[in-house]
Symmetry: D2
Subunit: 460 residues, 4 copies
């Protein structure tokens, strides 16, 4: 309420109480002021009441909520169902304009503020998480894969001749598809087995560059977060190579924001070489529903170029989710989640190690992978081919989800050898003979510990 | 509650009342059964309580809501904020898989059902609205423009040599951008002035096809819904031409579902010729928040091909919105909205006509445009260049939104001649000298009538 | 947001849009200002967004929502469940203080405002509905019956010797119980049959007064709204009699606010004689959940005396419900509901009349009852005793609720003669022989018409 | 969904996933089954999704949510505002019937179940909290004071001659008013100062009984929870005395459920003597909004008698709140809150003790009061009369609420001597000279610790 209304309230309720109420309101306003002024994630999380107050303030600024508004166009934020209106806090206009997904909408000052602030708060969190020199980012309501596609489509205008994308292999379908959809030919570079780890084969990458010719290469498409025994790509070296050959470099950092190691790699890569954009999933890093990604980079104008490639207005829903979440957690809350995840990861590694050795198997040694763990299943594999699949389905029916499918990606001594097109390749696996009950006994408590405070899976 | 629980309840509350309650529950179940069985929009709209019951049933089927679930992957539907969980009815997993946006998710039976049913209900509505032979469609959480881009990217794989898209001009930025983003060169074909109407120049289109060579043309990109004095493209003739030259044909039907005329054009085009896909906006046709589109077509396998091009999972938010809305309205409710819109449109045309003549101006005669109206503003233009802009801003500050910007698109005798790239072209305008008060006096009541029952703008 | 925050927003989003947003906010503030200033129900209903904005403004003024508040007492508005907090809009402190249910709470300026405004808005509606000279009222979170009890308990302190309450019979259990619970002896005065109507026997009332002695009588307890063939009490004459003998007069106006006739009776009674308080149900008159009543009167100090009798703080839930409802409807919306109810009532009477005559029965002629209708069922009764009960249960299983139980109260030629204690008396009934199908055929359409726009039952 | 609908779903989504979803649903059903079967608070709290699923199941059983229901009565659960419907989960019919607040409603099987289950779950919690032999209880939507009034009004019918209530003094306005409102004369028995504690003067009580005559006494009205230096009444001895003289005994246990000591006193009192009913606040013991109480006792028929005294239906809102809260917490969650409260209380006592001694003051030794603490403020009082009031208001403006007002109740050497009517009496106070800053420094951290996990104030 404004001061006039507080004044009137003093005629109904004694003025000292109203004044205290008005001061209390001001303390919410102060939080909002701070957010508008700094554009940063607040240190301490906001209460639900501040969050909802703020959202309703934004909503009243959108023309569909103007009292007496007469919308005559085809896009006026009309909503038929009050269930729908309510679940979007009456913010109906989406984000962006036909010209630019980051642009301001004349009809929707509130939604426009939401969009600006979300991008600004997310940028702050990317910095806090380790990529201190990131210059710009925006939330886009598309999957990580489709967001990578948008990056590639943007680069096409800069490099009209380019046909290839150099891609150190990672067995994840949508990254592969992102390149295909954009109309490019992925050049899959197999990884090297170093100890237990599968790591970037830098020589092979350079060989491909020189063979194909730098001008024919759209970009190098590298990956941080991945399943063990693959480990994050050697970003520093790749970034330097890109700089040397003047080739753009796009990093798939899908669920890497949660890991200081992944973020550090990006920061270092950008410092010593070239990274044009890095893309991360909203749901995997910020505990929001599936459906959004962040496209970030070190050159503001290139990120703007990408944002201008999205034709049309877009859903504000992922932006709204991540803004609510980050305001509620606060920077401290988010940082705490990150450190808890790290602790749980170490605990799990230790427990899996002793389990493995109790069965004559071993936890693979993959120190460069800060997120995922793999263990050998040689015995199980020796027994029968089906036994491994069965383990996965046993886990599934026991409501341990996420593990089973990854389990089948565990590569031991024989690294995967797929045909070109990688994602379709089926890997050879040597799996451990193990009573599933024992495995579950271990996994469940470790997971139950980790499940709720955790950001995203600490075990694969 | 299941029958066991109803049985137990009879020990607490007298059994005849419980039995009535259980029958009442069954009547909700019957509605749901009908939906699952037929996959159609119910004739009569559901009450909010049935809708919410149904959504909570879907939610409990998703693994993130399993009691005792241990998610160990990186994508487990974790949500940090209860505000966020609630606004999505705890449906967190989004839609699709990395392979296909229409695919089923093992971890999320409920969200998968939501996705299937939404697409099925929307297909039913497209049929009801006039495209009776539509074979398949899916909702995609992207703008109409980005959805067109996805169609073009899909066609690229079928026509690797093609570089051009034939595009009868329409002054709307994001359709133009949709082609640019996909990496193609739009070939803008200017429209012909027939009477007051700007209509497709079929000869010019055919000339471009033969000049450029059919194999070099990705597709013809036509438009139905548009602002007067432009009228919907001659779809029948274009579709026949596409069939003749074996060129794909993509139709931008952005806000055309609301108009039986637009839908009829598509139906006819597909009957006599070739239409590969037609794309429409969710918000403009179904009164939901900005952010989704429907990609539909007559060949199931081609539509599936498009749905398989989207790399990654996607937001379920637009699907959820449109499902809630259509279940709440019912087919009858939706049809009623369509017929009310038609009535208001006629009323508005009539009133604008008498207004115009009172000022020595005229309502342009654009009978082929069933959605939008234009009037001359010659007098105003004669007075000064600024006067026209001022009229727009006057409307805006009087909270008549949507009209002002369109007003500036009104083309009279001198059709727009933009440079190649069309959307950026600035048109010459002859505008009517008119006291803005008079205009407002007319527009406001007409609009107030139309505003809430209306689907989308009936006046531009 | 305050002006400082709007200022900051202009740095993020262009200032003309922000200014329009801030003006839009002001239009909500203006509505709130008007409410605070006038304390009246707004003419036009508020949008949901204004209502919710207002409630969230109130909530931030309560100490449980102060950021950094340290509650150390036993009553600090602590809430364990966020579901619960949310459904009360975080207004947790209830209404009133231990001293007075209408009093202001130091810890809860927002809830106190809510309480004051609700009582003020409700008072306005009582005036609009016909009791123009009502001086004061308050909402109490108790049933109508319990509220009557509170009135009687208050009167006890004024008339310590009194033991009796004079009560023109009405067959409704809780009014009877209200007197018993308060510890008084109801003196049931049977009604007179005038034509078809059962009306107050004024002579019998006066006889009782003189017999028992005025000083031994706590009050006369009369009734307006009731089921035909009983009609509202002769309030004018009763009020005059109360004035003459200096006996308090409490009116049970349970569902009478919806009827201008009932309200007119109260207004007239107060004008020519004495009415100390009149009590009405919230749910039956204002379409809110069961649980509240309004105690109103013409002497502010007596109403205050009653409000000071409630020991302790009370639930704000019924106040919140009725405030939301009246702000949403607006005075015009409420008045429209009243007039629609009247129309439907006339239609129903007419239809029932022709139905009755088609079966050799008749609609009882009860012109003084503006709410309820009764028809003879002589034939049915003649057939068998069970037939009548069966009709009731037939209606029930066909989901016509509310009719069946009332049906059994239909009194024809033989008025009910209960033993003292009235409410327990079982009446003799002569009921009409009628095919239930015919009845239903009529009732259902009439009711379906009336059901949703209607305030409360127009048929009993 | 029922099995038929799950079956149909298997045609849309692969059957193994649907089956898992259906099993997941069953696990929610199992929780509900357990609740219905046992009528007890579940050990482990339910998730929000189970709670909401359950409430929506209850709602569909109420006639106002029947699809196609035709309500024709005056009480049909009609709701005008969807905001209101939603916040009550569409449970509109309230609880009870005109005959009995615990009775079942034919029109509302769901609300009736809600009512029964709430009373049953609350009974379970009372047992768990220490009154193991409690036989019956019900939730009533009235303040503790008004609930006490209802108990007294019920007793009147058993003891028509009685005029007095014996009341060991407690300085709390609404307990006093509860007797006045019911129409009885409170006989205030001053407490004895034993050490620092103010304790029941048993001899004085017995003297009053014999002086006034047992048959003239409605009941003894004792108190457990109270502010130090008063301590809970000697319930065992009072209960024995009541048994001896055949006088009913009503215990005000306002915020005593949280304290095992208070509950133990009641259990013991009932074992060795007579306790007819004990009354507790909902908000103070269960962290729900203000507005409800629990009336409990050891004789089922007497409790039923009270529940039958409430004339009319009542609000279900407090029942709904406490049911949601207890299902969400579970018995374990509630017990954990109790034990945390105990720990914090000890910590606070210890810290206050050292603070007091640092200032030449002392924490009063009140070991029989398990909830509240008092410290001397002699120095402050010596300084000036205003100094004490100022300390209270200093605390208030520093957002330490609840302490200040209690502070003024601190009695040191000179026990309060009020005039008859007790609650109005103003006490003499000797208060400690203390820099308020020091006090706050201590109080705030102690309180911040306690604030959220705490049930109700541990400091007064």
């Amino acid at each position: 309420m404004n001061s006039e209304n507080f004044g009137l309230s003093e005629k109904l309720v004694s003025s000292s109480y109203i004044r205290q109420g008005s001061q209390a309101r001001r303390s919410h306003e102060q939080l909002i002021r701070h957010l508008l002024e700094q554009g940063k994630c607040p240190e301490e999380g906001w209460s639900e009441s501040t969050v909802e107050l703020f959202l309703s303030e934004l909503a009243v600024m959108d023309s569909n909520n103007f009292l007496g508004n007469c919308g005559v166009g085809e896009r006026e934020g009309r909503v038929a169902s009050s269930l729908v209106a309510r679940r979007h806090y009456r913010l109906i206009h989406g984000i962006g304009r036909s010209g630019d997904i980051a642009a301001i909408q004349p009809k929707a000052a509130g939604s426009s503020l939401l969009n600006k602030l979300t991008n600004s708060v997310v940028l702050d969190i990317l910095k806090l998480s380790g990529v201190r020199s990131v210059a710009s980012c925006f939330v886009v309501p598309m999957a990580t894969g489709m967001s990578l596609t948008l990056c590639f489509l943007t680069l096409r205008h800069r490099r009209p001749k380019a046909r290839y994308i150099i891609w150190p292999r990672i067995d994840q379908k949508s990254c592969f598809k992102a390149m295909i959809t954009a109309g490019f030919e992925p050049v899959v570079v197999e990884n090297l087995l170093e100890g237990d780890e599968l790591r970037t084969d830098l020589e092979a990458v350079e060989r491909q560059i020189t063979e194909l010719g730098a001008e024919n290469i759209l970009c190098v498409h590298s990956t941080t977060s991945c399943f063990a025994p693959r480990v994050p790509d050697r970003l520093e070296e790749l970034a330097s190579m890109c700089a040397k050959y003047d080739i753009p470099h796009i990093v798939n950092n899908a669920y890497g924001v949660q890991s200081s190691k992944c973020m550090h790699l990006i920061q270092q890569g950008a410092r010593v070489g070239r990274i044009d954009a890095f893309v991360q999933s909203l749901d995997k890093n910020f505990m929001v529903p599936v459906g959004g990604a962040i496209i970030a980079g070190f050159d503001e104008s290139f990120i703007e170029e990408i944002s201008k490639m999205y034709p049309g207005r877009a859903s504000a829903s992922p932006s709204l989710d991540v803004l609510i979440t980050l305001l509620s957690l606060g920077a401290n809350g988010y940082k705490k989640l990150l450190s808890v995840r790290k602790e749980i990861y170490l605990l799990l590694a230790q427990e899996l190690k002793s389990l493995a050795s109790a069965h004559g198997e071993r936890l693979l040694h993959t120190p460069h992978n800060p997120i995922s763990l793999a263990m050998s299943l040689d015995g199980l594999q020796a027994e029968s081919d089906k036994a491994v699949t069965q383990l996965g389905s046993m886990l599934f029916t026991r409501q341990v989800s996420g593990a089973s499918e990854r389990m089948s990606c565990v590569l031991a001594n024989k690294p995967a050898r797929g045909k070109k097109g990688g994602a379709e390749a089926i890997s050879q696996m040597d799996l451990l003979n193990m009573a599933e009950r024992e495995l579950l006994k271990l996994i469940r408590p470790a997971i139950l510990l980790g499940a709720s405070p955790n950001l995203s899976g600490c075990f694969h």
